[in-house]
């Protein structure tokens, strides 16, 4: 693994963000709007909900964590899409870069871009809507780790799908988080879901984070076992995602997909 080659992929993304104000929108503005909308909603709900239920901590905290996962995933896919949009595969993959270095570059870009988004959201949530992260304590670390690994896994799967199906498959990728959100219980406990949805939810690592988060806010103990299961599922997802991408890449090299990757839609 050559760090210079990994850094090149991330540097390209930095140049693009620096050179185009439009690219700052998804990073800062859309992320901020999410928090503003949910922030005001939680503010309103906190005036009508009585009892010990902490609306701000539960709802805004959930939105913040869910957005973290989305930004990490989009960080990977967007960096990959830059090569799709600029038809740059031939130049990149005929260089000495390996798949491992390329994907690591996507991850590094995602971390850098995700950090900007999260910083914006966190600042708004904490200073405008009085979200306190103190109740989470050190549990925030495993929560974020699980979401980070699963976000990367989703991003890698997304890039694999686009590499295999062609540029127009990009439209399959953007809604992936929205498709998963009903199953992982971002805003509600899994117990309210029908049985079959609960089964799917339990296979998805973020559900353990959101269940754990609600337990923390309610003052209950968080099951370490469930965190371990969530973490293990994240690692397994990541391994499967890497295997999937590697397999797709090999297919693309065998069939010449990379060399002629420019068509709007490929089978």
């Amino acid at each position: 693994m050559n760090p210079q080659r990994i850094a090149a992929i991330a540097l390209r993304e930095y140049y693009l963000v620096r050179g185009s104000i439009a690219r700052l929108f998804p990073l800062c503005v859309w992320a901020g709007i999410d928090i503003v909308v949910w922030g005001f909603l939680t503010k309103y709900l906190s005036t009508v909900v009585t009892g010990s239920f902490s609306v701000v901590s539960v709802l805004l905290g959930s939105i913040l964590l869910w957005n973290f996962l989305i930004r990490i995933m989009q960080g990977v896919t967007t960096t990959f899409f830059e090569d799709v949009w600029s038809r740059n595969f031939l130049n990149v993959f005929s260089s000495p870069i390996s798949i491992a270095e390329y994907v690591s570059g996507l991850v590094l870009s995602s971390v850098l871009m995700g950090t900007i988004s999260i910083a914006v959201m966190l600042l708004l949530a904490v200073f405008v809507f009085s979200l306190s992260l103190l109740p989470y304590g050190l549990l925030l670390i495993p929560f974020l780790c699980i979401l980070f690994l699963f976000g990367i896994a989703l991003g890698i799967v997304g890039t694999g799908i686009v590499l295999r199906l062609g540029p127009s498959a990009e439209w399959f990728i953007w809604p992936i988080p929205a498709l998963l959100s009903p199953f992982v219980g971002v805003l509600y406990p899994l117990s309210v879901l029908p049985r079959w949805m609960q089964v799917i939810g339990h296979l998805l690592p973020p559900s353990y984070v959101f269940e754990g988060m609600r337990a923390v806010i309610a003052g209950s103990a968080v099951s370490m076992q469930s965190l371990v299961i969530g973490g293990s599922l994240s690692v397994v997802s990541l391994i499967l995602a890497c295997l999937f991408f590697t397999r797709v890449f090999r297919f693309a090299v065998r069939t010449g997909l990379i060399a002629r990757y420019s068509a709007e839609s490929i089978n």
Partner: protein, 277 residues
């Protein structure tokens, strides 16, 4: 994360890893052969794109790869670049098997093609920096200054590549192709969009570069005048096979044609009428 991918990538490949099993490494003493293509074949099911192609490119030599559209030129170039896996055969760059030692082989190669412009949303200098890093070039800033000066790109340094004229973009692609001082340079119609004056200038630069750096060049073109001027040797591909090979200045005479262009047209339209003895 990085380690995970490292291990997966290592276990992956027939095509891309550096895991070397019974591979002869780079030759200990310099060979005159930069590129060696042996029994190369590529089929897509029943469609045969390249059939049993073999040739070498030597140091300081410019070899023209000619042929009508669909003859297999770009397929051959893509296999040499490692972005397309051959169905059969081997490709070695400076002794490194492209299929098994992709990184080493590509560190010694580079390419420019009209159909592969650099990202238009990056400036000239940014593009050169990114690709310089991908090729692992040391003293990168110095090298960027050299190629910018060499390809007359100074006034476009801060301009986005997408707004450059096609001729300027071609010069940028060539500058990128020269960044790592490749031992093997693959050029797919490098002067297709250049005016005659710039094209001549580029031909001279590449000719000088090949001689000075003792680099081998594989050059595809449909411009027979250019080919006869710049190439030491040409290979005529037809239907995935090397049909003819020889000196571009005399090859047409050998086959009873008045010019290389006439020979090209015959190869393209009626290859069976050629006297191949």
């Amino acid at each position: 994360m990085f380690f995970l991918f490292f291990f997966l990538a290592r276990s992956k490949q027939d095509t891309y890893t550096e895991r070397i099993v019974n591979i002869s490494p780079s030759p200990k003493r310099p060979s005159s052969v930069v590129l060696s293509v042996t029994n190369l074949r590529k089929d897509y099911g029943s469609l045969l794109a390249v059939s049993d192609v073999s040739f070498d490119v030597h140091r300081g030599e410019i070899v023209g790869l000619l042929g009508p559209n669909g003859a297999g030129k770009t397929t051959t170039v893509n296999m040499i670049l490692g972005v397309l896996a051959p169905s059969m055969g081997t490709i070695r760059v400076e002794g490194y098997d492209v299929a098994r030692c992709h990184r080493q082989a590509m560190e010694l190669s580079n390419f420019a093609a009209v159909y592969a412009p650099l990202p238009g949303n990056l400036t000239v200098e940014q593009n050169l920096r990114i690709f310089g890093m991908l090729y692992g070039i040391t003293n990168l800033q110095k090298r960027i200054e050299e190629v910018i000066a060499e390809f007359d790109l100074e006034e476009y340094r801060e301009k986005k590549s997408g707004v450059l004229s096609s001729g300027e973009q071609t010069r940028l692609c060539l500058a990128k192709a020269m960044l790592n001082r490749p031992q093997l340079l693959l050029l797919d119609e490098p002067t297709a969009s250049l005016d005659p004056s710039v094209a001549r200038d580029i031909r001279t630069k590449i000719r000088n570069y090949a001689e000075a750096q003792t680099c081998g060049v594989l050059w595809t073109s449909h411009n027979m005048h250019e080919v006869s001027q710049v190439c030491d040797r040409v290979l005529f591909l037809s239907r995935g096979n090397v049909l003819l090979e020889g000196d571009p200045k005399t090859l047409h005479v050998k086959h009873g044609k008045s010019s290389l262009e006439e020979l090209f047209i015959t190869v393209a339209k009626e290859p069976l009428t050629l006297d191949l003895s």
